[in-house]
C-alpha cells in the first residue's frame, strides 16, 4: 500500500508571506527580507495569489475547499528554517477529499518552503554549511493521497499524471530537478486481504525513476523482513540514489514532536462562495474535458485526442492550428507526425514551437487546396523549420506548386512512355501492375510536383488509347 505526499511550489511572482521574489537561481540570499529571514518583530501577511492557485489545484483534484481553514505553526530546529517553525496548515486544511484517476486525495494544504542548506560548492565546505534563504517562504501546496496505490509503477504513474495536471493548471512548473516538485512516499506491505502493515516513510524521491526504484526496493525490503520473521518498524527512511537503497533516517521514537498550534499572526483563511466561483470560472478546461471535446467537436479519434491533451501547451497549439483554418485531423496528423519529430530531434517542447500555429495552418491549407502535394509539403515544412520562412514563400521561390496543367502533364507522360517502352508493352499485354511504376516515373520527372490524381487519370488514358 503506497500513499504519496507531494510538495509543489506555486507559480506566484512573490513569496507566500512577504513581497520577495520567487525566481529560482538568483544569487544566494538576494531574495530575502525581514519576514522570510525570521528577523525579530517581522510578521507574515498572506499572499492571496498563492491561495488562488492552491484553490485552483484543489478544485481540479475534485476536493472540497473549506470556507475556513487555519494556518498552524510546525516547530523544529534546522538552520534553513528561519523562524524555528514552518507556517503550514494542520487540523483545518484548505481542502480535503478529492481524487485523481482512481487515487483518492486525502487533503491539500498551503505552507511555506524552508531555505536551503548548501553543504558543498564552497572552498570550506568540508567544515562549513552555508544557508540560502531565497527559497524560504516560497509558497507550496502539500497534496496527500490516501494509500490507494498498489505498486511502484502505479505510484510513478500517478505522480507523473499529477505533475501534468499541476503544470496544465499553471499551478506548478513541474521542475523536479530544481525542487519545485517533490515527493515523499509512505509504504507498507500486507498479505492479500490481510490487515494493514506498519508503514515506513521514504523521503527524497525527486524523479519518477527514483520514486519507482525506491519503492521497488522498499517493498522487497519489507517483504524480506516479514518473510524472515521480523517486523517492519515505523520510521523515516532516506532514498540514496547513488547506492540504490533506502536507509533509516530516524525511528518513530526519534520522530519530531512538531507542537502544532494555530498561527496567531494570521487570521483564519476564509474563502467565500463568490471567490470559489470566480476561481472556478477562470479555471482552464481540464485535460479530460478537453479530450472529450476534441472527440465530440473535432471528430478526432480517441488516440489523437489523448495525445494532444498531454500538455495544455500542446492542446492549445493544436487548437490554434485548427482555428487558423486547418481541418482537425490534418492538424492532428501534422502535430503528432512532423512537428513531434522536429521537437524530439531538438529536445524541445511545444512551449517553444519551431513553427507557429498560423504558419503550420498555412502549410496545411496549401495541401488542402491542392497547391502542393503531401510529400512536397514535408519538404516545405523542414524548410520552414530551418529558415523561418512562410510556406507560400518557399513554394513560390522553389517553384514547388503542383502541376495540374493538362498539356504539361500530357507532355511529361509522353516522355515517360517513350523512355520506358518495356513496361508500357507489358501493361498493354495485361500486366497492369507496371502502372504504378509508370506513375512513379512521371512524378519523378516532375520533381514530385505533378498532381498525382491527374497523373493517374491522364496516364491511364494514354496507355489505353
Amino acid at each position: 500500500m503506497i500513499g504519496l505526499e507531494i510538495h509543489a511550489h506555486l507559480l506566484t511572482a512573490s513569496k507566500i508571506f512577504c513581497g520577495c521574489g520567487t525566481s529560482f537561481g538568483a544569487p544566494p540570499n538576494t531574495c530575502v527580507c525581514p519576514v522570510c529571514l525570521g528577523l525579530p518583530g517581522a510578521l507574515p501577511v498572506l499572499n492571496h495569489a498563492a491561495v488562488d492557485l492552491a484553490i485552483r489545484a484543489a478544485l481540479a483534484l475534485g476536493c472540497t475547499v473549506h470556507e475556513t481553514s487555519v494556518f498552524a505553526r510546525k516547530h523544529y530546529f534546522y538552520p534553513d528554517l528561519a523562524k524555528g517553525y514552518q507556517i503550514s496548515q494542520y487540523d483545518c486544511p484548505l481542502a480535503t477529499g478529492g481524487a485523481l484517476a482512481a487515487t483518492r486525495i486525502h487533503r491539500v494544504h498551503l505552507e511555506e518552503d524552508a531555505g536551503k542548506s548548501l553543504h558543498d560548492g564552497f572552498p570550506d565546505s568540508d567544515r562549513k554549511t552555508y544557508v540560502d534563504f531565497n527559497r524560504s517562504g516560497v509558497p507550496l501546496i502539500e497534496i496527500v493521497t490516501e494509500p490507494d496505490l498498489r505498486s511502484a509503477s502505479d505510484a510513478a504513474g500517478f505522480f507523473s499524471r499529477l505533475r501534468s495536471m499541476l503544470v496544465w493548471l499553471g499551478v506548478n512548473d513541474g521542475n523536479m530537478e530544481e525542487g519545485s516538485l517533490r515527493c515523499d512516499a509512505n509504504v507498507s506491505v500486507r498479505r492479500a486481504g490481510g490487515a494493514l502493515g506498519t508503514k515506513a516513510e521514504i523521503k527524497n524521491l525527486n524523479s519518477f525513476r527514483f520514486l519507482q526504484k525506491a519503492l521497488e526496493y522498499e517493498i522487497e525490503r519489507q517483504i524480506g523482513v516479514l518473510k524472515g520473521g521480523g517486523r517492519v518498524t515505523q520510521e523515516t527512511r532516506l532514498w540514496d540514489a547513488a547506492s540504490g537503497v533506502t536507509a533509516s533516517m530516524r525511528s518513530k521514537e526519534e520522530a519530531h514532536d512538531y507542537r502544532y498550534f494555530p498561527e496567531p499572526d494570521l487570521p483564519p483563511l476564509v474563502v467565500d462562495a463568490a471567490r470559489l466561483g470566480s476561481i472556478r470560472a477562470a479555471m482552464p478546461e481540464l485535460p479530460e474535458a478537453r479530450r472529450a471535446r476534441f472527440i465530440a467537436q473535432h471528430a478526432l479519434p480517441e488516440y489523437d485526442a489523448g495525445q494532444l491533451v498531454e500538455s495544455r501547451a500542446l492542446a492549445d497549439y493544436y487548437e490554434h492550428v485548427v482555428r487558423a483554418g486547418a481541418p482537425a485531423k490534418a492538424a492532428s496528423n501534422w502535430i503528432m507526425g512532423e512537428l513531434a519529430r522536429v521537437l524530439k530531434d531538438r529536445g524541445a517542447d511545444i512551449t517553444a514551437p519551431p513553427v507557429s500555429a498560423a504558419a503550420l495552418a498555412g502549410l496545411i491549407a496549401l495541401v488542402e487546396q491542392g497547391r502542393i502535394s503531401g510529400s512536397i509539403a514535408k519538404h516545405v515544412f523542414d524548410t520552414m523549420v530551418a529558415s523561418g520562412r512562410t510556406s507560400d514563400d518557399i513554394v513560390q521561390a522553389e517553384d514547388l506548386a503542383q502541376i495540374d496543367d493538362e498539356p504539361r502533364l500530357v507532355a511529361l507522360i509522353g516522355d515517360v512512355l517513350a523512355a520506358h517502352p518495356g513496361p508500357v508493352a507489358q501493361y498493354r499485354e495485361g500486366k497492369t501492375a507496371t502502372f504504378g511504376f509508370l506513375v512513379g516515373q512521371v512524378m519523378r520527372a516532375s520533381a514530385g510536383k505533378a498532381n498525382p490524381t491527374r497523373v493517374n487519370e491522364l496516364l491511364r488514358r494514354a496507355l489505353e488509347a
Binding site: 528577523l39 525579530p40 518583530g41 517581522a42 524555528g84
Partner: protein
C-alpha cells in the same frame, strides 16, 4: 539636578514648539541633560541616542513650516527596547540580542517619527517582556523613581520610570499581561493598552502574539489620547491589525461622565487570588475612594460578576508561554544575535543550539520556554493549551456580558504598590499571581487604561484600571480623564526628579 522641566506634558511641549517659545533642539538638549543626570541611578535606558536625537531635532527646527502642524513635533519619546528601531540596537533586554541592530522600524515607531517625535533612546524591560519588575533584564534592573530600592514594575519598567522621572513625556511600551498598566500604576503615571489589533505589532519582538499590544506611557490621559491618535490604525504589514477607522481620541475627553455605568467586580476583588496577602489595604482604600469620585461626577457604579476571571492567571500563563516557546524559537544563533562560542570537543549542530540558547536566554525566559514547550507537547496539548483557549473564551464572554450592563469595568491595576527589588525574584509564582487584574484584558483583547489614584502613606503611587469594550478606547479614556481632572495625582513629582 538640572533645570526642572517647566511643563512636561506632550500637549505643553508641542504647544511651546508650535508657538516658537522653544525650539526642538532646546527641548532635546534639556531632555538629554536630565537623562544624563538621572539615569545612572534609575537605569531606565539601555541606549541613549543623543546624537541622533539632536540631529533629528535640528532637522525639525530647520524645516519648521513642514512640521508646524504635525502632532508630535519636537516631543522627545523613549521606546521600549523590544520595539525595532532602524539602525539602533534593539535587545529586548536579552544577551541573545545584545548586538542586534534591526534594518527596519516598528510601525508604531515609524508613525511617531512621521508625527515629528524625537526618539531619545531605548528603555530597559524584562527580557523579551517576560516579567513584572524589570528585574529580568540581562543588563540590570531599573529602579522606581519614587523609591530607588523598589522596582518600577514591568515589563515596561524602563519606559514607566523614564516618564515618571520626567525624562520623556511619552514612552512606548508593550503589554502582554499588564506590562504597560502595572508599571504605570507602580510609577504613578498613565498606561494605555489599546484593543488588540488597534496598533500594529509589526516590529514588536513577539512574546505572545495573540496577547501582545503596543501602547503608551504618559503623564496624563490627554497625552495618552494624543499618542493613540498617532500610533493607532490598520497596517498592511500586520494581518491582525484592525481596519476600524481611527477617531480623534482627544475629542472624547469631554469631562462629562454623567450617566456612565462603571462595573465593579466586587466578588473578584474580595475573594480573588491576589497573592497570599490579597489586595494591599492601602490599594483597596484608594480604589474605593476613586470609585466615590466617579460617582460624585455622575457615573453609576454597578456590581458585575466575572465568574471565570479567577482562572485568568492560569489561562494566561498557559497561552502566553505556549506562544512564547514558539516565538523565541528563531533565536537559534544561526542568522543573528548571540551564538555560543565554537566548542572543539562538541561541534554538532544540536549542541550549538543548546549552548546558544542556554547561554543567551535568562532564567525566566528559559522557564517560560520550557513551560510553553510542555503545554504544546503531544499528549498535553488538549489538556493544557486547548483547555486554556476554551477558558479564555469564557473569560472574554464574562466581559461581553458585563458590557451589556456597564460601559467599563474598574479594578485596581496591581494588588500591591511597588515592591522592593529582589523581594519576589525567588518566587515566580507570587510574581505571576499579582497579574490577576491585568491579564483578562489581554485574554479578551480589550482596551484598558491605568490612571494614578493616590499614594500609600509611604509615598508609593497606586493605580486604578478601567477596562472597556473592544475598540471603545474613547469611553475608558473619557472616564479616566474626568477622574484625572478631579484628582491631578500626576502633578506630584517623584523624589528622584
Amino acid at each position: 539636578m538640572t533645570t526642572p522641566a517647566p511643563s512636561a506634558t506632550i500637549r505643553d511641549l508641542r504647544e511651546s514648539v508650535r508657538s516658537g517659545a522653544r525650539s526642538a533642539v532646546e527641548i532635546c538638549r534639556e531632555t538629554l541633560a536630565r537623562v544624563r543626570a538621572s539615569d545612572p541611578a534609575l537605569h531606565a535606558f539601555h541606549t541613549v541616542t543623543a546624537d541622533r536625537a539632536l540631529a533629528r531635532a535640528a532637522d525639525l527646527d530647520r524645516d519648521r513650516d513642514r512640521w508646524r502642524d504635525a502632532p508630535l513635533t519636537g516631543v522627545p519619546v523613549a521606546i521600549k527596547d523590544n520595539l525595532c528601531t532602524r539602525g539602533v540596537r534593539t535587545t529586548a533586554a536579552s544577551k541573545m540580542l545584545e548586538t542586534f541592530v534591526p534594518p527596519y522600524d516598528a510601525t508604531a515607531v515609524a508613525r511617531l517619527e512621521r508625527a515629528g517625535a524625537v526618539m531619545i533612546g531605548k528603555t530597559n524591560c524584562d527580557e523579551f517582556a517576560m516579567g513584572s519588575s524589570t528585574e529580568n533584564s540581562a543588563f540590570g534592573p531599573t529602579r522606581n523613581p519614587w523609591a530607588l530600592d523598589r522596582t518600577p514594575g514591568g515589563s515596561s519598567g524602563g519606559s514607566a520610570a523614564a516618564v515618571a522621572a520626567r525624562l520623556a513625556p511619552l514612552a512606548l511600551g508593550s503589554d502582554t499581561g499588564g506590562s504597560i498598566r502595572q508599571p504605570a500604576a507602580l510609577c504613578g503615571i498613565v498606561g494605555l493598552k489599546p484593543t488588540y489589533g488597534r496598533v500594529s505589532r509589526y516590529g514588536l519582538l513577539a512574546f505572545a502574539s495573540s496577547l501582545d499590544q503596543i501602547g503608551s506611557l504618559t503623564l496624563t490621559v490627554h497625552d495618552a489620547a494624543i499618542a493613540l491618535n498617532v500610533i493607532a490604525g490598520a497596517d498592511p504589514a500586520d494581518a491582525t491589525s484592525a481596519p476600524d477607522p481611527v477617531p480623534d481620541y482627544t475629542a472624547a475627553l469631554t469631562g462629562d461622565i454623567r450617566g456612565a455605568r462603571i462595573g465593579v467586580p466586587s466578588r473578584l476583588l474580595e475573594n480573588g487570588p491576589g497573592g497570599p496577602d490579597g489586595i494591599d489595604r492601602e490599594v483597596a482604600g484608594a480604589f474605593r475612594t476613586a470609585l466615590d469620585a466617579f460617582a460624585s461626577r455622575g457615573a453609576t457604579l454597578v456590581d458585575v460578576d466575572l465568574p471565570h476571571a479567577r482562572h485568568a492567571v492560569a489561562v494566561y500563563y498557559l497561552v502566553a508561554t505556549a506562544e512564547a516557546s514558539s516565538n523565541l524559537a528563531r533565536y537559534d544563533g544561526v542568522r543573528y544575535g548571540f551564538r555560543a562560542p565554537f566548542d572543539r570537543h562538541d561541534d554538532a549542530l544540536g549542541s550549538m543550539y543548546a549552548r546558544t540558547r542556554a547561554g543567551g536566554f535568562g532564567p525566566e525566559v528559559k522557564r517560560r520556554i520550557m513551560l510553553g514547550t510542555y503545554v504544546l507537547s503531544a499528549g498535553y496539548y488538549e489538556a493544557y493549551y486547548l483547555k486554556a483557549q476554551q477558558v479564555r473564551t469564557l473569560i472574554a464572554r464574562d466581559y461581553e456580558r458585563a458590557f451589556e450592563r456597564v460601559d467599563a469595568v474598574a479594578m485596581p491595576t496591581s494588588p500591591t504598590p511597588a515592591f522592593p527589588i529582589g523581594e519576589r525574584v525567588a518566587d515566580p509564582l507570587q510574581m505571576y499571581l499579582a497579574d490577576v487584574f491585568t491579564v483578562s484584558a489581554n485574554l479578551g483583547g480589550l482596551p484598558a487604561v491605568s490612571v494614578p489614584c493616590g499614594f500609600t502613606a509611604g509615598g508609593l503611587p497606586i493605580g486604578l484600571q478601567l477596562v472597556g469594550r473592544r475598540f471603545d478606547e474613547p469611553t475608558v479614556l473619557r472616564l479616566a480623564d474626568a477622574y484625572e481632572r478631579d484628582t491631578n495625582w500626576w502633578k506630584r513629582e517623584p523624589a528622584h526628579v
